[in-house]
């Protein structure tokens, strides 16, 4: 996508929304042990991910970035199976997908984006790294180390904060000193801007500007997309304990999907719904028929050259398993 195409972006957001709803349903049905809903953040995720160049760029997600996976065309069964607890890190090929396996240490991968960006700069590939993280993650030391490194080396990296208002039960004002993640950019000598995170076109364009700057050698950027987590932090969370229902309702009025849909024809929206329903049915089927993993997998990827002790344990396991 070279320019923001609302119809295409809406289509991606709708897939993310319907898949998110399906994942929650699967969790309620006992098929998925736990899930981190992304409802409300589709514009931030899809808008930024769709702006990437899939041939050159590389993305470092968190656990609430389903929309990014959708926009990047990642195999969604292979992506969602992480939540299914099939394999930490998912079954998709991170290299082909240009999407790193997400991890629950929310600041950690942001430093990886910096390293990857340095590699891309050394190889002069024109590639840019993007890292998504939340307002809660922005408290972690790794985010600050990453921003400082990127600022010092002027690396092609985009720090994309999805400020969804809540770090589980803590509101942004009790999480982010100074009230703004974007404002921190100045302290690290880089461009920073706040964007309406529920406006998919605005997010796409802000990300595109940051990517262009990075490719032109103008260094890293911080984007803070102001959005809202409409659902709970996870399927184990009860937002009623820490926030008012009126607030949720107020944000529901700013639903990024409704906003994008309002600019489209009824036919376009209906076609998008039909497409999303097809994707959801296919992914649901894929998830429910994922075969049990072979026990051998426990051992095979620990090392490239496994240790004798591990091979010995594998052999012993095989004997007890009668495999």
């Amino acid at each position: 996508m070279h320019t923001a195409d609302v119809r295409a972006l809406h289509r991606l957001m709708l897939v993310a929304r319907r898949l998110d709803e399906e994942a929650i349903a699967l969790q309620r049905q006992g098929a998925i042990p736990a899930y981190a809903p992304s409802k409300g953040q589709e514009a931030a995720q899809v808008g930024s991910a769709a702006a990437l160049d899939p041939a050159r760029d590389f993305a470092f997600p968190n656990y609430r970035d389903l929309g990014a996976a959708v926009a990047m065309g990642v195999d969604l069964v292979a992506y969602l199976c992480t939540h299914l607890n099939v394999w930490h890190g998912g079954l998709y090929d991170a290299k082909v997908s240009r999407l790193a396996p997400f991890n629950a240490v929310v600041g950690g991968p942001v430093t990886h984006a910096v390293g990857w960006a340095m590699g891309a700069k050394l190889d002069d590939t024109g590639g840019v790294a993007i890292s998504w993280f939340g307002d809660g993650a922005s408290s972690q030391g790794d985010i600050h180390e990453a921003m400082n490194f990127a600022g010092v080396y002027r690396l092609p990296v985009v720090f994309f904060c999805q400020n969804n208002g809540w770090a589980i039960s803590l509101p942004t004002e009790r999480q982010v000193a100074g009230g703004s993640v974007a404002a921190r950019a100045a302290g690290y000598g880089m461009a920073g801007e706040r964007v309406d995170g529920n406006d998919v076109v605005a997010v796409f364009e802000a990300t595109r500007r940051a990517l262009d700057r990075a490719r032109a050698g103008a260094g890293p950027s911080v984007i803070e997309a102001m959005t809202y987590r409409l659902g709970p932090h996870s399927t184990s969370d009860d937002p009623g304990r820490y926030r008012a229902l009126e607030d949720e309702r107020a944000w529901l009025d700013k639903d990024p999907l409704a906003r994008a849909a309002a600019t489209l024809s009824a036919e376009d929206v209906a076609a998008a719904e039909e497409h999303a329903a097809e994707v959801v049915a296919r992914v649901r089927e894929g998830l429910l028929t994922l075969h049990e993993r072979p026990g051998e997998e426990l051992f095979i990827h620990v090392y490239r050259e496994p240790t004798h002790a591990l091979l010995e344990q594998q052999r012993a396991w095989k004997e007890t398993a009668g495999a």
Partner: protein, 329 residues
């Protein structure tokens, strides 16, 4: 034959690794212009340029996180963390990230990262500048851990670590940096696969198991014991993960007695692992329980108390005597 200090041998190994593979990157606090506080990276930036050898901001987690990203982009990072105690701020990146990325990506994202870590005590350094982290790292699936005991070992093991496709924690015994030895780095590399130990001194009455700086101390103890007619075998374990269980068992099966010597605190130290391996493999041959001579279960002490803390020759020889005189009750 030329003579090298450990510091020079490691410098040469880094230099040759950079020459042989242009994907090798050396970075860390002060490794560039200064050449490292121990001068292990001396001259490398002048030779290979700021692209290959560069200084980083002083942030250990950032250094290791950057190594992860660089490895993902196909580079071969050789980061340095300036002192062992400063590896603690990078533990998340080392344990949660470096060690697991190959596993969680199902082999798609290998981590050929070699973390160089000036390690252990013996130089009366300030607080946090002398720690023994080997058991901590050896416990982590996905990591390999190695420590050289001499200049020639340092050269070969560092070359091997950098060439290894998996993440390796390379523990440099800083008290041995200035110890010199003759060896020819151009000579064919001796056969020394990952996870192999070496007998530094053969003996028949007991095996002293050690690594890093404790190897030379054990050799000294063996010399003194020999004056009393006690022939001690000294086994340099080298690889602390994977441990050479076969080499260990072969030595103890010959001598029938084992004393393991390490600088780290006793409890849950690597001596416990060595002791368990010896017991599993040599129970029938053993004439005495495995003895451990270690640091104490205290925070690493100030220089004034360091000599009390570190396993001294007397403590090693006392343990030898205990094992030699052991009688079943």
């Amino acid at each position: 034959m030329p003579e090298f200090s450990l510091q020079q041998a490691l410098n040469l190994a880094l230099c040759h690794a950079c020459e042989d593979d242009d994907r090798v990157l050396v970075f860390g606090q002060d490794v560039g212009v200064l050449g490292g506080v121990f001068r292990v990276t001396d001259g490398l930036q002048a030779k290979f340029g700021e692209r290959r050898v560069f200084d980083t901001p002083l942030a250990e987690s950032g250094i290791m996180g950057m190594a992860v990203g660089l490895a993902m982009a196909g580079w071969r990072p050789v980061p340095e963390i300036q002192f062992d105690g400063f590896a603690y701020p990078a533990i998340d990146q080392i344990v949660n990230q470096v060690a697991r990325m190959h596993y969680r990506s199902r082999g798609v994202l290998p981590m050929p990262v070699t973390l160089r870590l000036p390690s252990f005590g013996g130089i009366k350094a300030p607080e946090h500048h002398g720690e023994s982290l080997e058991a901590l790292f050896a416990h982590v699936p996905g990591l390999k851990v190695v420590s050289p005991s001499s200049p020639s070992q340092g050269y070969h093991l560092l070359r091997r670590a950098i060439a290894d496709p998996d993440p390796v924690i390379f523990l440099e015994p800083k008290s041995r940096y200035w110890h010199r030895e003759e060896f020819d780095p151009a000579a064919p590399v001796p056969e020394m696969p990952v996870g192999t130990s070496r007998v530094v001194r053969p003996g028949k009455h007991a095996t002293l198991v050690a690594w890093g700086a404790m190897v030379s101390r054990c050799l000294r103890a063996a010399e003194l014991a020999a004056e009393d007619g006690v022939e001690l075998e000294v086994l340099d374990l080298r690889w602390l993960k994977p441990i050479d269980a076969d080499g260990l068992a072969a030595s103890v099966a010959r001598t029938r007695r084992a004393v393991v010597v390490h600088e780290a605190p006793l409890t849950a130290g690597l001596g416990a692992e060595v002791s368990a391996l010896v017991t599993e493999r040599c129970f029938g041959e053993l004439r005495a329980p495995v003895q451990r001579v270690t640091g104490y279960d205290v925070p690493y002490p100030s220089g004034a108390l360091e000599d009390e803390y570190l396993p001294g020759i007397d403590r090693i020889l006392t343990a030898v005597q205990t094992t030699l005189e052991y009688r079943r009750g």
